[in-house]
């Protein structure tokens, strides 16, 4: 799979893959910004405000009517932390021209729309109501408070907050709410002016159009907007080991939810030689139905339905999650740590190693079947100056040995724990639909 990269203007870098494989085309525009607590808050508000339209389509209804007219074009706007950076991305998916009854090519229209959304959003109009700004702040705060609606994700998030407790640029949930509540509309507009003027625009395209056509549409769409920028990319480093800590919270739910986090010191950018072994380690540990956590905590001991691990590629944090009857907290925690110790002590069978690698190889091979997966794989690497293709990743995973996995595991110790204690046993015995 060959991604073409080209600088098409002073501040626009285009990566594109021309293919007839899909019925949609995907185009995304990203900016990398400097991380700070305030910037995280402002970018969240900006991402929400952008859904209220552009200068020429200044409402939710008008913007969505336009998207619907473009055959249900999908629009995604996201602000996310990426190591020591904020990645602000606007993505659109449009139906390929071949499937539009009158043959309309939507690429030009969607490029213009996204350019206007990024550089002339409705919230910068003079007549934009500040009450709408206040409403968006309230909605973001509601959304943060509603994170408890998903106990597993909430527990993992609170655990990660413990890891980042001493990081000055990363707010806790409560700090974030306070930042949002105190955000001022004029200050936000000032921040936005700096945002659009100060960073490179990274464009990613997958679809049937040739690179030259995409380059022309994007250049035309952005021709009237600022073209100078100041490089502000910081290549992500793995998070340093924190002072070990543990916290609990009582919530009125049926199950206990546990998250255990480990700072591995490994990430794709700074420790590429260890990165692939770390992926295999995570897979052996808790990556799927043949993993140690699934087989030992769920299948052998019937302690939970959900028990797995995940590895964050930018921060290098390995996190194990489980949901279970709270009375089994000690047993579940001990078993999760025991399974990690097994890996440290080289108790890794040939089957476990091979199954883990096969599972990873499958996920990388099938990645080329999804435009959004392709974008996620290539774009973040390209933004931070890394060049790697899928075939190389597959080869490096295949070469990982049990010794390498074991050596990495020996350096991993528990850094943070968050336990949400649920209700006592028997609390939910009553049928929901008693006849």
């Amino acid at each position: 799979m060959k991604i073409n990269q080209e600088r098409i203007s002073e501040n626009i870098e285009l990566s594109s893959l021309t293919t007839d494989k899909f019925k949609i085309s995907l185009i995304s525009f990203s900016k990398v910004l400097t991380l700070s607590k305030e910037a995280l808050a402002y970018n969240s508000i900006i991402a929400n405000l952008m859904h209220r339209g552009t200068y020429s389509l200044p409402s939710v209804a008008l913007l969505n009517k336009k998207l619907d007219e473009l055959y249900g074009a999908y629009l995604g706007i996201k602000s996310q932390r990426c190591g020591e950076n904020i990645l602000f991305t606007v993505t659109a998916e449009i139906l390929d021209g071949k499937y539009i009854p009158d043959g309309t090519d939507l690429l030009q229209e969607i490029s213009s729309l996204l350019a206007e959304l990024l550089y002339s959003p409705a919230f910068m109009r003079e007549d934009f109501s500040s009450s709408a700004f206040e409403q968006e702040k309230k909605l973001i705060i509601d959304s943060v408070r509603s994170e408890k609606n998903n106990p597993r994700l909430y527990t993992a998030k609170r655990c990660l907050e413990l890891i980042h407790a001493e990081a000055p640029e990363i707010p806790t949930g409560d700090e974030f709410i306070e930042l949002i509540a105190n955000a001022d509309f004029d200050s936000l507009k000032e921040y936005y002016r700096l945002l659009i003027g100060s960073s490179q625009l990274n464009v990613f395209y997958i679809g049937s159009a040739e690179q030259e056509k995409v380059a022309k549409e994007v250049t035309d769409a952005f021709s009237e907007y600022p073209s100078s920028y100041t490089p502000s990319v910081t290549v992500p480093s793995p998070v340093s080991k924190a002072s070990p800590c543990a916290k609990r919270e009582n919530i009125a739910i049926s199950q206990g939810n546990l998250a255990l986090a480990f700072c591995t010191g490994v990430n794709f950018f700074k420790t590429p030689d260890s990165y692939y072994a770390m992926l295999v380690l995570n897979e052996i540990f808790g990556g799927g139905p043949s993993s140690k956590l699934f087989i030992n905590v769920r299948e052998r001991q019937s302690l939970c339905y959900s028990c797995f691990s995940s590895f964050q590629s930018f921060s290098g944090i390995l996190i194990a999650s489980a949901a279970f009857n709270s009375k089994n907290y000690e047993t579940v925690k001990a078993e999760i740590l025991n399974q990690l110790n097994e890996i440290k002590n080289h108790v890794i069978s040939e089957t476990e190693l091979e199954n883990a690698k096969k599972s990873l190889l499958y996920s990388y091979r099938q990645l080329s079947d999804s435009p959004s997966d392709i974008r996620a794989f290539f774009q973040t690497k390209a933004i931070f100056g890394a060049k790697e293709d899928i075939e190389l990743t597959i080869r490096k995973i295949s070469e990982v040995t049990a010794n390498e996995v074991c050596a990495l595991a020996k350096n991993i110790t528990l850094d943070a724990e968050f336990f949400v204690e649920g209700a006592a046993e028997g609390a939910n015995e009553e049928d929901f639909n008693d006849d």
């Binding site: 939710v60 509601d142 919530i251 043949s290 959900s306 929901f432």
Partner: protein, 435 residues
């Protein structure tokens, strides 16, 4: 063996339907992707709890809630002690299964060893192995699964909506059952369900990817009987007793949420007998829903601008041979007020106000969503399963969409579909709520 080929020139896609001598319908959709997808599905789900075998017509069998889902879990266990998940892992395939109201599906996706994985899929689904030990150990796992879903407010709100709409229909029963009901499940009952419903005449095999038809047919010849397996089951799901009006207009529960969730269910017992009519009705209501409830519409603007709802409002029309309903779901500080505003809007709206422009937008979205679904082997295989189990042909849906007129949509709106007697409101309130 008989076969039919179906083609769509618009989509540049085709597939083959093969009727195997055993009675199994096999669908082969060739697609040039890196990974191929296979589903072995059975028309047996959570609503099939009361049935009669034509060999014993006076003996009605009534089973505990959740048994179809329990069976889905246990089929992966084999007599040789090796779980089928381990076999799939060793082949590098990603396997899973799901149980729905009216079907159960066993599936895998693989970028290598597809045919070996297909053999394993057919083999393990056809050969059940249940013992008291493996059933008892699964009770603990499924109990934790039930508790996990109990902690998700969106799930509880959805089931509350079903409970409000239906008095008798078994669709309102939790797919997983309850902690009490699953304790009644025994190996004997599981075998009874398997021998009753898992007849090849009641099943289908759906394959999408870069596959070799001859190899697949060879596998089927070696694993499946050459004579037809009869299906002798008729079932009752209680739908015949349902009135057009809802059972309870309001259902409420309190959970750990920051903001109330709501789910409006609009019951529809006027389900066409013919598959084509049912599909057309579903498509007409999908377009009508876009016109009435989407972000581009007047109603959404009214509710959102007045700060009555959170941004994300989901809606849709769901239809099966025995149950159909419209639903609108979201978050709101005052769900009762939101429902009242929705009903006022609908009652004051005349069909003449439904514009051609809005109709065209709704139709474009429906068309586009359908076309986009052909970018995924998983999407295609699941659509083939849904359509074929309903007796419909996949590509014919394009003709159905194309044939819909604004008059069809106006007639649907005028059909009393949104009458208050057909509407139930399910709400999840915060624990500290005084309501």
């Amino acid at each position: 063996m008989t076969e039919q080929i179906f083609e769509s020139k618009l989509l540049s896609e085709s597939y083959k339907k093969i009727l195997h001598p055993s009675g199994l319908e096999v669908y082969l959709f060739k697609k040039n992707m890196s990974a191929s997808y296979a589903i072995f599905g059975v028309k047996y789900g959570s609503i099939h709890n009361s049935f009669v075998n034509s060999d014993s017509p006076y003996e009605e069998v009534v089973l505990p809630d959740g048994i179809a889902h329990f069976l889905e879990h246990k089929l992966f266990a084999n007599e040789n002690g090796v779980d089928s998940f381990e076999v799939f892992s060793s082949l590098g395939a990603d396997a899973n299964a799901y149980t729905a109201f009216d079907k159960t599906a066993y599936l895998f996706s693989a970028a290598e060893n597809f045919y070996e994985s297909l053999e394993e899929l057919i083999r393990f689904v056809r050969k059940p192995f249940f013992t008291k030990e493996n059933v008892d150990s699964e009770i603990g796992i499924i109990a934790e699964e039930i508790r996990m879903y109990d902690d998700y407010p969106a799930d509880r709100c959805f089931y509350g909506m079903l409970e409000g709409m239906y008095e008798h229909h078994s669709i309102k029963r939790n797919i997983c059952g309850t902690e009490k009901s699953i304790k009644q499940i025994t190996p004997e009952l599981l075998y009874k369900c398997h021998e009753s419903f898992y007849s090849l005449c009641n099943m289908g095999l759906f394959i999408c990817g870069d596959v070799d038809e001859a190899k697949i047919l060879e596998i089927l010849s070696s694993l499946l009987p050459s004579e037809k397996e009869e299906f002798k089951i008729s079932f009752k799901d209680g739908s015949e007793k349902e009135l057009p009006t809802v059972y309870k207009p309001y259902v409420e529960a309190k959970m750990q949420v920051a903001k109330p969730l709501f789910n409006v269910g609009i019951k529809d017992v006027d389900i066409p007998l013919s598959v084509a009519e049912r599909q057309k009705k579903e498509a007409v209501f999908s377009i009508l829903d876009e016109m009435l409830f989407s972000r581009a519409g007047e109603l959404y603007s009214m509710l959102f601008d007045a700060d009555l709802i959170s941004p994300h409002l989901s809606y849709g029309y769901s239809s099966s041979p025995t149950a159909a309903y419209n639903s609108i779901a979201g978050e709101a500080d005052n769900p009762k007020l939101v429902l009242e505003k929705i009903l006022e809007y609908l009652e004051n709206l005349s069909s003449d106000s439904l514009s051609y422009e809005d109709f065209l937008r709704g139709k474009r979205i429906l068309y586009s969503d359908f076309v986009k679904s052909f970018d995924s082997t998983e999407g295609i295989a699941n659509n083939l399963l849904t359509f074929s189990f309903d007796g419909a042909e996949l590509f014919s849906y394009l003709d159905i969409i194309s044939s819909i007129t604004l008059e069809d949509v106006k007639r649907a709106f005028e059909s009393n579909a949104f009458d208050r007697s057909k509407i139930t409101l399910s709400v999840i309130l915060p624990l500290e709520s005084k309501e």
